[in-house]
């Protein structure tokens, strides 16, 4: 029992180590790719940013507006009318610090994480990874690195969009529903929206993106030689990404709290 638990713990540590190594190696790989010939790698990166970032923009916008509305409604229903400054402050604490990076990452996992894992798994099963490597093109530089960096860029930018949309959406609801003046709402927002708050949010967004990319690439490339492994790879990619998101969220929040 203890041995089995220790085995599990060791595999988890090895797995996390592999992921961190994969993320860290994306940076030197990007330098070597740029040195050799950036065009095809840049094309994979931009395609990833497009599919993960641009195509998710609408759903992020709608979700952010709804979250802003819900948070504002809850604050006013708890604190009552006359809590204009507090509404601004609370929306920064809840949305900017926590919900924006986390919900953005969850949406990206659901939309793009599965797609990345399934695409790479399909490529592996069809022997396309071998085709690339036989051309002397390393999969790590051409397939993995631009995807990891592309997802990280997309999550970072979408997180910023989410925050802007939620804060503005919250104001619209507060203004239309409870006649909260812009001045007082903005005063509440900007009194707590410090560089540190933004840094926590952006650090989370970047880390979430890097690890979502790494997990999904890893799961996609780990499949066996049968198509039945593709949905399994996609499912594992989603579950592990979600699990790690919450762990990273906790670690980063704790780090900045201390």
């Amino acid at each position: 029992m203890v041995a089995a638990l220790a085995d599990k713990m060791i595999s988890l540590v090895v797995y996390l180590y592999d992921l961190v190594e994969m993320v860290l190696s994306a940076f030197p790989n990007s330098v070597s790719a740029i040195r050799q010939g950036a065009r095809p790698v840049l094309s994979v990166y931009l395609r990833q940013v497009y599919f993960t970032g641009l195509e998710a923009f609408k759903i992020i916008l709608v979700t952010a507006l709804l979250i802003g509305t819900v948070v504002i409604t809850q604050i006013i229903s708890i604190a009552g009318a006359g809590s204009e400054t507090l509404t601004g402050k609370v929306i920064v604490w809840i949305v900017v610090r926590e919900l924006a990076p986390l919900l953005t990452a969850i949406i990206v996992v659901a939309r793009s994480g599965t797609a990345i894992a399934a695409e790479l798994a399909q490529m592996k099963i069809a022997g396309e990874i071998d085709y690339l490597e036989s051309l002397g093109i390393p999969a790590a530089s051409y397939l993995i690195m631009p995807r990891i960096l592309g997802v990280a860029t997309a999550v970072l930018v979408l997180t910023i969009y989410f925050e802007i949309a939620a804060v503005l959406g919250g104001f619209l609801v507060a203004s239309l529903g409870w006649h909260v003046p812009l001045e007082q709402y903005a005063q509440g927002v900007f009194s707590v929206l410090t560089i540190s708050e933004l840094a926590v949010s952006l650090a989370k967004g970047t880390l979430f993106g890097l690890f979502i990319g790494a997990i999904c690439c890893r799961q996609g490339l780990k499949v066996g030689r049968s198509v039945t492994y593709i949905p399994q790879a996609a499912t594992r990619a989603v579950m592990q990404s979600l699990f790690l998101l919450f762990i990273i969220d906790g670690i980063v929040s704790l780090f900045f709290l201390l």
Partner: protein, 219 residues
């Protein structure tokens, strides 16, 4: 003459048992395998994509055992493989597939890549669209693009894996003619045909038939 590829008592994946053979440099050689999977395994072993359980593989005079990934990639760049279905990447369009290695390694300026790419496609008689995805192409067209990509790389060794499989008589004739011409273009270039079809070997323009000593692969 130096051997371009040399297998010395290679054992791998239960399919190959103590296989030994050498491919003479500059030759057009063919090897008969028992199954298509064996041809694929041989290609992977030759390029260092798979490691033998025992024995050694030498490619272009360099032993692959213990070679770094960087050294392997440098060797792979001197070899071109035309896979049974062309070896194209499914999410890249025909043109992107064709010029991928040239662009990745920045071998030529963009304008020259375009000219060379178009000339290569013309050379193999490719008639389908440049912006098609490989999944929409016929097997013949995919092989043509794979062949054109191999020609663009100006390799020292070209491996044709099941190149004639699945083609009609006319298409086989056309492909053989292109390969023969391409082989003669550069003195010293080695062409190795791998096939599991005995009849296909008779059609291939081979000068040497590789005798593989081993329990699973026949020559």
């Amino acid at each position: 003459m130096e051997q371009t590829v040399k297998f010395d008592k290679v054992v791998a994946d239960e399919q190959l048992q103590e296989v030994s053979f050498g491919v003479p440099g500059g030759s057009m050689a063919a090897a008969l395998t028992e199954r298509q999977e064996e041809s694929y395994l041989l290609v992977r072993l030759m390029l260092g994509l798979a490691q033998p359980l025992s024995g050694s593989v030498t490619l272009l005079g360099e032993p692959l055992g213990g070679a770094s990934e960087k050294a392997l990639n440098a060797l792979r760049r001197q070899v071109a493989v035309v896979y049974p279905a062309g070896g194209l990447i499914s999410n890249l369009k025909v043109w992107e597939n064709l010029v991928l290695p040239l662009e990745y390694f920045s071998l030529y300026p963009p304008k020259e890549i375009e000219e060379r790419g178009m000339a290569a496609l013309e050379g193999v008689g490719y008639a389908a669209g440049l912006m098609e995805l490989p999944g929409h192409l016929s097997l013949y067209s995919r092989k043509q693009v794979g062949l054109a990509r191999a020609m663009l790389l100006n390799p020292r060794l070209v491996i044709y894996d099941e190149i004639l499989t699945g083609l009609s008589g006319d298409q086989r004739g056309s492909i053989i003619e292109i390969i023969r011409k391409f082989h003669r273009e550069t003195p010293g270039r080695t062409s190795l045909f791998l096939t599991s079809n005995e009849d296909a070997i008779r059609e291939m323009p081979v000068e040497a038939r590789i005798a593989m000593k081993g329990s699973s692969v026949h020559g």
